[in-house]
Symmetry: C2
Subunit: 496 residues, 2 copies
């Protein structure tokens, strides 16, 4: 390794260390921080993020990156690392101090306004702030630049390489294929799932989640699970990747599939190559690919019949009073029941994407000036009626349900769907490439699947875009057919 | 406030923020860190401590301090803050890089050697390393400088203002008064305490500890209690002060008095003035004063009859099978039983200081070249026979029991005793100054005692030395008589 490249990787490693400290602050914040420590925690966070920015954009480092861009002796992977860092640098230096300050004022105000509006079910309290957020996003897009569509610039922050054009094709499929298919399921005789709301002792649920995470290959020597109000996973370093979940005595789904979902995220983080810690090669490719890992484990594996053939005994042993009387097949059907609702986070595997579709349509329309912020509640409710056949009871449970817009995170929601669609495509290839995968899952043998994900996705880090990774593994770009075929095969069986 | 002083306080505040981040890393390390994260945690710690050193000794800051030393417009308290910071700066700049590197090599080697020696009960494995540690401490003392005794320089790091001469007087009292008194108690009819080793459900013990901490005034909105292998308290900021304890189903003392002890430390940290966060005025005065707070709560309050008049019902309600049959007075006697042992950390309130006395004598003798490292085991065992009348069964349980020497922490042990002696002196004055304190404690009303400690000690931070604080509050310097009188009054009653 050249001296120059060594200096480059060491500097990024150092920034990685600082970032990992910020990670611990973030974890503690959600899990154990005493409430009065809010003030000092803000100062700690501000210090860490300021330091990261300072170190990343320092004149010496920028000079080093410029020199390395011209260095012909680099390996292919080294070149990619340098190029990606340079792209980030260009992005970071595009925003001047004035813009960042304005952004910070608008965002912090927006959060408060959103919170008040949601609590009081009064959209008008948030309206003006949201208008400012949208204007800010448009300004961001202009500053960042784009080729075809301003929304591309926003998407690129979360899913490098993704464009509005590509997403419009994908979500057209969602609208044309998934919406009618979903409505056809709703018209069928419903499956019985009320027993999932019996009483399930919390500690026993917790013990099952630990069991299940171990079976997935989650390394408790390099991580842990704690309770938190909102489930999340956080990778500070491949040797310290923590997950959180919550538990509801009367809703089995709350803990179990959350744990599997977060476990999927965590396996990705534990599988990153520590040798490249801090470099693009050592971080996750994109939010979409991250979500593909969590969704693949949660749904393609964790809601499959094969998976529960291996694991249903855990439920039956822990909760005989409920599951002693429920056949495996009925359990399987229940955990896959489709049920239209108005909250994305509680949605079933199919309608989830109808929620995201609505967000996508709204965000694009906002960026294209085809809708005004003040008309959002009406638009929102009409879309929920059209796609999900539900009447949204209030703005609190409707257009105000999610915090993300108040954070200024337009362009973020689509990654939730992209993740599931990638998951279906990846899993379909895993099934082809791993001999007898289904039989292995039925026996609780998941290590080959994990190895396959490690080799094909995790160790690559961010060397490639999600699209490139997808092509390398499956021979084609993101193709919605995989998801549609997966869903049809599964739900035709359940709702036959 | 002058612009200069504002810059000074802001810089120290910033260093305080960085230190508080280091605090969280330290807390997590002991409580929740996954084992494989050891490597990244070392890097995180090294980064934070390097940054603190860098910021504290930065040329700009040093210049600012020099300028402020000449600033006649400062208030008295501002002047003290500047002077104390300057003293720290002088100390920190005395050690050159070469010495710090040598120190780091010796200490990290010593820990490994000590651990092997303790595990294998083989002092010779540690001997050479300990010789190096002692030589290092002597070199430190010479570098730091002292007026009378090289040990003074070491003491000053933990207990500013304390000297060997003063300690020799105090420990002469321990030897002449406490040792014979202790042996006179051992000759009396022993109290019955075996019931403290019945079975006590862990969760119930935990619940009592929470109850007790709340009653003390420990603010769970600005702190929390967790389990850890070694009990400790850590103050990151007055709004985030956490404690840890451990629990033993067959030893009630493990959790309860540990919680009270750590709670005492934590109340001090919660009571520091956040306005001066990072400045001497915002940090604890010394280890001795810190220990005076924990010991005052643990022993003067937490092992008093008055205290258990208020709280014995907690024990009786939680553990009726044991305490239903035990009278309050017998409980009180049991928790104060004197029992000679060879482990300091498990010692009763009196013999504790006999352990420290031995450490003190050894450390002084080492600094005065009156004893050789190789003779320590023999010396140690003879002293235990002489003062505590016990036969030390092995070096593992004897001279190798504690980790501190391997850390190079000579001069640290005496603060354990000083703390108790200050506690007795302070508590005696609290009893005089707070009307009907005893009756209040008997009713579980502890808030006035806490207020008294807040006003007289906590809010002063490190503006004054422990000796100055003691004089301000009690009108005289540390006086061993208070402890001796406290002990006699209490134990004459118990062993009458």
């Amino acid at each position: 390794m050249s001296e120059q490249y060594k200096a480059f990787s060491e500097h990024l490693h150092k920034i990685g260390v600082v970032g990992s400290i910020g990670g611990l602050l973030g974890w503690d914040n959600e899990v154990y921080k005493p409430e009065k420590a809010m003030g000092i925690r803000s100062e700690q966070n501000a210090f860490i993020s300021g330091l990261i920015h300072e170190e990343f954009t320092s004149a010496d480092f920028v000079k080093l990156v410029q020199a390395l861009l011209e260095d012909k002796s680099l390996s292919k992977e080294q070149s990619i690392n340098v190029t990606k860092v340079n792209e980030d640098l260009i992005k970071q230096t595009k925003f001047n101090k004035e813009f960042i300050q304005k952004q910070s004022v608008i965002i912090s105000e927006a959060f408060g306004k959103w919170h008040a509006a949601k609590t009081q079910n009064n959209f008008s309290l948030f309206e003006e702030s949201l208008e400012k957020v949208v204007a800010l996003c448009k300004e961001s897009a202009e500053i960042l630049g784009y080729e075809e569509h301003p929304y591309d610039a926003l998407l690129d922050m979360y899913e490098p390489g993704m464009t509005t054009k590509k997403l419009k094709v994908i979500f057209a499929n969602v609208k044309e294929q998934l919406v009618p298919y979903y409505n056809s399921l709703l018209a069928k005789k419903q499956v019985e799932a009320s027993f999932l709301h019996n009483k399930f002792e919390k500690q026993k649920q917790w013990d099952i989640s630990i069991e299940i995470l171990k079976q997935m290959g989650y390394d408790f020597g390099a991580g842990r699970q704690d309770y938190a109000p909102h489930p999340f996973s956080i990778g500070m370093h491949p040797t310290d990747v923590r997950i959180t979940t919550r538990v509801d005595e009367h809703n089995l789904s709350e803990l179990i599939w959350s744990a599997i979902h977060e476990g999927g995220h965590a396996l990705y983080e534990q599988g990153l190559d520590a040798e490249y810690f801090g470099q693009p090669q050592g971080v996750a490719a994109s939010l979409g690919i991250h979500e593909s890992q969590s969704r693949l484990w949660e749904n393609n594996v964790g809601r499959s019949l094969s998976y529960w053939k291996a694991n249903y005994h855990l439920m039956q042993n822990a909760f005989p009073e409920t599951f002693g009387k429920v056949e495996l097949m009925d359990f399987y059907k229940a955990i896959n029941k489709v049920e239209p609702g108005f909250i994305r986070t509680n949605a079933d595997e199919i309608s989830y994407h109808l929620h995201v579709l609505i967000r996508f349509e709204i965000e694009v329309a906002l960026m294209e000036d085809k809708i005004k912020v003040k008309d959002l509640p009406e638009f929102w409710n009409a879309k929920y009626k059209e796609y999900l056949a539900v009447d949204v009871p209030s703005n609190t449970l409707g257009v105000l349900q999610d915090v993300h817009w108040s954070h200024g995170s337009l362009g973020y929601f689509p990654t939730y769907s992209i993740g599931s669609f990638y998951a279906a495509q990846l899993f379909s290839h895993a099934e082809k490439q791993i001999p007898q995968l289904k039989e292995k899952i039925e026996k609780g043998e998941l290590s080959e699947l994990l190895s396959w994900l490690r080799t094909n996705i995790h160790v690559k880090g961010k060397l490639y875009t999600s699209e490139e990774i997808c092509e390398q593994v499956t021979g084609e770009k993101l193709n919605f057919d995989y998801f549609m075929n997966y869903v049809k095969a599964k739900y035709d069986g359940i709702y036959k």
